[in-house]
């Protein structure tokens, strides 16, 4: 047995899933088309873990009796789902038209440089995850950078260090 399959074995034995998600799945059993709750289950999972750990997807597959390939097929279809742990803070740069013409692209480049990550990835110290958004509907404030739930308006590239240092960023 390879380490990976041994892992799966443990996940199966313990369930690998938080209790409230197990409960949710059990409730769907009596409903018509229980398999149609797959996306809802994965949303709960991502809310709980911040991402979709592989072994919990296997546990979902077993508990809902949906083939594992189908589970990960659905999960990878949606950009919303992510398979790597997120950082403590999520930075989201709006790349909608208004923000873009006001220089959001430069902000993304600067952030990539500052954090040494590509878009969608997490810093080595697990502090920040860098993401981009397609128009957050606050065009008057362009360019917009959202950190966790806080919206930062009219951001200039040289302000980024000051903003991020509030979240523990230390310049190299």
């Amino acid at each position: 047995m390879s380490p990976k399959t041994a892992d799966t074995h443990v996940a199966l034995a313990t369930g690998g899933l938080p209790e409230h998600i197990v409960e949710f799945i059990e409730q769907t059993r009596s409903l018509p088309h229980p398999e149609s709750y797959l996306i809802a289950v994965m949303q709960l999972l991502q809310k709980h873990f911040g991402y979709l750990p592989a072994k919990t997807l296997d546990a979902v597959s077993q508990r809902m009796q949906i083939p594992s390939a189908k589970v990960t097929g659905v999960a990878t279809f949606y950009h919303f789902f992510t398979f790597v742990p997120k950082g403590k803070h999520t930075i989201s740069v709006c790349l909608g038209t208004a923000c873009y013409v006001k220089g959001a692209g430069i902000l993304v480049d600067r952030l990539k440089e500052m954090l040494d990550v590509e878009v969608g990835n997490t810093t080595k110290d697990s502090l920040f995850t860098l993401e981009v958004a397609r128009c957050v509907g606050a065009c008057a404030l362009a360019p917009v950078v959202i950190v966790d739930d806080k919206v930062h308006a009219n951001v200039r590239p040289d302000e980024l260090i000051k903003i991020l240092s509030k979240y523990g960023y230390k310049a190299k």
Binding site: T5, L12, L57, P67, S68, A69, T72
Partner: protein, 587 residues
Amino acid sequence: MAEKKQISLTIDDLAVKVPEGSTIMDAADTIGVQIPRLCYHPHLSILGACRVCLVEVEGLRNPVASCAYPVEEGMKVRTSSTLLRRLRRDVVELILDNHPQECQTCERNCNCELQKYAFELGIRDRLFQGERKRYKKDLSSPAVSRDLEKCILCGRCVRVCAEVQGVYNLSQHRRGFHIEVSPAHQGNMLNSVCVQCGQCANVCPTAAIVEHNDTEAVFAALADPAKHVVVQTAPSIRAAIGEGFGYEPGAPATGRMVTALRLMGFEKVFDTNFGADLTIVEEAHEFMRRLRNNDRLPLLTSCSPGWIKFLEHFYPELIPYASTCRSPMTMLSVLMKTVYAEKTGLDAKNIYVVAVMPCTAKKFEAKRPEHYTPFGAPYTDAVLTTRELIWMMKCYGMDFRHLQDSDFDNPLGVSTGAADIFGTTGGVMEAALRTAYEKITGKLCENLNFFEVRGVEGVKESAVMIDGKIINVAVSNGLQNAKNLLDKVARREKQYHLIEVMACVGGCIGGGGQPYPPPGMHIMDAGLLKMRAKALYTIDSQKKLRKSHENPYIIKLYEKFLGEPNGHRAHELLHTHYEPKFPRGIR
């Protein structure tokens, strides 16, 4: 059952009548109009993804996909026009835009459906060069290889795996340009629920999924003077190999095949049939013992390696019911590296055993640690599929049609008719019944033909009276059918005594390594399977010896080497064990 309502329509001005619910493509097929198709397969659900099968219907504004469009009364269909030719050509051109331009060096060269349509639809120029998909090849599995760059996303493999085999190892992942067909977690074919049956390779229109290539290893062994290279061929090879050289399916080709193998340089040409006879003797005794003790019934046959892996992933609680007999291939390989080595005075380490199998899963079986010699080499060194062997023979420039016939080498080439029918669904059951009947009753089995278990239906059931006791037997082929049967067993709905399971539709004759079907036929085609099966039943009916336990060399083998069937030595050499495998499959 009431006859279905007939629908009348015209296709290219020809009048056609087909049952209600047929598609335009079905109707066209009946009058010999082959509309081009890539994602369509008659045994799989309708996807309508490739758009190559577009036709025009009078009164409809746009062309429709004929594979998915049901016929209607009075419908007027046109299957070719300037517009349709252009549309179909554009569709295939767009597929080619991000397809590797390497037909000459591709495994499916001259045997590829995409290449065929590129030619037939008249694509002579490459106007665009689209962005190419870049993937690493998946060579993880010893049985099947994946090259996602050649995938055209027709979804046939996904459907055959889920619908016919009930395995559901493959699914489309991601979206848009990045869609890829993969096992769970975009993983590989080895660490997955894949049973290695190769049906995905069979239905793949391109070379996106093919068998793992073992031909180079065999060429190298044949060229190595230190190696004593022997070969064995499975029962179903003789029923299909001729197809590679333009013969009709099921045309007799055994003698020519043996000659060709000698010409290739194999020292001895043995017959997996001998292993099959041996399997039957062992399995029949195992069955008798369990029947006597009412122990772990039904006995599940163990010859099909795809089925065995399926059992380990999907029905681990039924493992104790499976026969512990090694497959005919492995039994024979074991004999070659023990008895044969002893007899000839050869060092077993220098014997190189090649097995020609209709099957990709046999490549996986050969690499299972359970089937390794005490000195750490596999009993079966290399497994070639029928397709690989045909290609190797062509590589040698062999004019197969003009070869003379010759016989297998003795004694591991002598077999009874019971072994020949191993290659088709129901064959193992029939062979086992012939021997079990005589061994249990001590009487002569006069009616050797158990017609109830013949035929290519998915599940066959029968009851046989042996010694005043009713023996319930069942035969299944295609793993989705096995699921339905095994669920009954697991729920204890009916007491079966003996169950034969073959992973592939039709049994080994429809295996994942068999020749791609000739024009006008398709994988899992009942007509094709019947022709191949008929070849085997004909060989069986023409043999003098038709019961495995009457094989004179098997009798001698037990006398001189093995002792009693199921005895200590036999157990050591001819039996194996199974264990639950992860990831666990979804039933």
